[in-house]
Symmetry: C2
Subunit: 488 residues, 2 copies
Amino acid sequence: MIIDYDFDNISNPYKHFNVSELGEQLGAIQRLVKSLDIPVLIIVDGWESSGKGFIIKDLIRELDPRSFKVSDFENSSEEEKARPFLWRFWRKLPKRGNISIFDRSFYYKTMNHLEINPTELKQNVEDFISMEKKLLDDDMIIVKFFLHEREKTQRKRIDQLKNDKFRSFFVTHRDIDQNSNYKSYLKHFDSVLKLSDLPFSGWNVVSTEDLEAASKYVIGTTIQKINSEINRINEKNKKLTDDKTAEKLETTPLDFVDLNISLGENEYKEKIKKLQDEAKNVAYELYNRRIPCVLVFEGMDAAGKGGAIKRLTSLIDPRIYEVIPIAAPDETEKQYHYLWRFIRNMPAKGRMTIFDRSWYGRVLVERIEGLASVTEWTRAYGEINNMEKQLGNFGTLVLKFFLYIDKDEQLQRFQHREENADKLYKITEEDWRNREKWDSYIDAMNEMLVRTNTTYAPWIVISGQDKKYARVKVLQEFIKYGKEITEK
Amino acid sequence: MIIDYDFDNISNPYKHFNVSELGEQLGAIQRLVKSLDIPVLIIVDGWESSGKGFIIKDLIRELDPRSFKVSDFENSSEEEKARPFLWRFWRKLPKRGNISIFDRSFYYKTMNHLEINPTELKQNVEDFISMEKKLLDDDMIIVKFFLHEREKTQRKRIDQLKNDKFRSFFVTHRDIDQNSNYKSYLKHFDSVLKLSDLPFSGWNVVSTEDLEAASKYVIGTTIQKINSEINRINEKNKKLTDDKTAEKLETTPLDFVDLNISLGENEYKEKIKKLQDEAKNVAYELYNRRIPCVLVFEGMDAAGKGGAIKRLTSLIDPRIYEVIPIAAPDETEKQYHYLWRFIRNMPAKGRMTIFDRSWYGRVLVERIEGLASVTEWTRAYGEINNMEKQLGNFGTLVLKFFLYIDKDEQLQRFQHREENADKLYKITEEDWRNREKWDSYIDAMNEMLVRTNTTYAPWIVISGQDKKYARVKVLQEFIKYGKEITEK
């Protein structure tokens, strides 16, 4: 890639244009993606002191500042440091119709880490690729640039910057270090670029020996790339008439749930207090060890999720956990990838986030109501597993509780809710409508349980038929897994 | 207040209830405020080690965890430290229908600052009161508790906590310091409480000598207070049939704008580059001195706001500024006070935020379209001035540009936009509808300019009739004010 880049022999198809001409064309493209509601991510990575600031300024010169944003990731905040590495990038993604320009990107840390071992390198790049893949599948356009320069050019630029009254703060030890070890970095960058040169988000290596020429190349390439990607996305979505049919699964884990287990009143009373107290201590232990914890609650309507969550959190200090009830996405949330609203709510180290319903809506309600196409929800299993795996790699305890009740039990609970004024708020028209689709939900739930039950984020299926049993069981499982991870 | 509190003679109207009974009643109240869409803020402040954790846990025991949140403010993040003190509390406010519990509050810093001088004390409390006032006017219910305990009880509790395996991390130097200087703190707290004992958000002092009794008192008082506040709000809103008529202003600053000023093409070209370069340096200087900067752009549709912003930012490093285009609030934003969505976007130290339209929508479009009642928009002038003053006190450079064009010029620009394919995106039905209300807008704009032109956040009214003149003038004014503040 860059290791054999020939600085003396560069072809630049945009050299005869001038920068403002190209800029205006890009302005037109910006309005086009706005009208098509397509998000665009432009990554400008490369050597330190290779002119990223200069290029980015040219890139945005003719853009409408109301629908683009430039983000840099040089310094990460405490908030960011306390969460998985990719979290900070998810936060800064463009919404539909907007352009985000990343000044450096998720690649920077791996690129700056010269002594990284090959396994870690591969693992990191795989995480980045899988993020790009998710976004590409969601019809984001990604344009990646690597700014390349000669060793002596870099040295000259570092010296210039140091002497600039207003901008000397831009020079860091990394600039110096790269220049002193130029050859080693060259080799290292080359391997990172090779590993992450994806079909629809390949790297464009740009010589910045001549900055103006580089600007032209970057703007021109961006225009060309966005245009061709718009065509590709259109073609793809035309073909996608969604004639794809999902194969039906043979495995039906819900059939194996014993719905007859129950607990007597006395046994319940005896157990619950003790377990709540233990759960509290586990939560403190997680807090003290700075282990983040994600608990997901799924299940039928009226399966007892709310009650189980209340019993679980009852003695835990409310300053260390948060319960997030999930409903349909709002206007703002719809502007992003469906995982965005969940990822931005992931807990910091030592915190616990409980999702009352979750991203599994993608393969449940969105599947059944046709809000996601077959292609989209079948793809979601892998996307979800990958997201949970990254949480796991970060050290997060991820547990997913599924509360199961049968159709008769649900009917009784619905009726009970309608008959009791103080429970009436819990039952809506929608609950009755969902109930009509009971069998489709069972199919979708079975498939979900099979496809997303992993070692790093296991499903814990619990009969909710008897509320007392379910509440005790949730506590027991939380304590079991919690102890396992804190005693490691 | 607390200085003459008689621990031996406490009346507790809730002592004959038990905690879970009261808790269930509070649960019913939670559902009531949810159905009424009323936000509730419960502040639990008081001595260190006075049992806040215990009380809050009792308070939430029977609450639905999906619509309450507990926040503590013990440790502030970098993000928070880089912004005005009250910002962190605005972020954690309850949305409509939800309950937020603050474990300590905006009072804590002033309370912990024993050596504070009287002027600063008064100034701080005034800021807190004005925040509460804004929220109360927006029909938030605020319940404030101060947990009070004897010197020796505090000492005992600190010792106990220190020896608790799981919770010793809760003890800080502040606990120790308060206990060693109990009498001085008592006096100091007393004056803070007296200054902030507002009619609709008065302090409830609670003895926590007996924690269980204290819990009962807190839950009972919360129930009683929320009930009475709901009644008060209902009464208030019944009376508010909005027969209030706004008096018409005599002063009409827009009449004094000279719309004939213009700049020749050559003069423009000569000036603009130099000014852009200077503006860039001013922006860097603000960045280096960590001075935050807020620029507001208002004006008629098609007055040239977008073009002026683009010329202003053209050479400034996009990593240090952000342009925020303001449209109607989305679903989430509507759940909060109208200032919430602006306050959360205020710049950190050294950053610049440019609002393309702003909170002035409250007294412009919301006034004219009847989206805010007369009471609400007349109140807004004071609320806005107060918010901007707090920014000013924090050291923020706040400049508000108003671009003025006349009705004929607007018509020409609208027609030009409709005739040009690449500008068509800029013109909508709504623009034409607003135009029909031209005279009402002129009245509203005049009143806004008169009532919110302050030394700490001045309006700079510029003729937008000639785009070149306006762009140059915006740059000149930004440079002038920017230099003034950086050279101080």
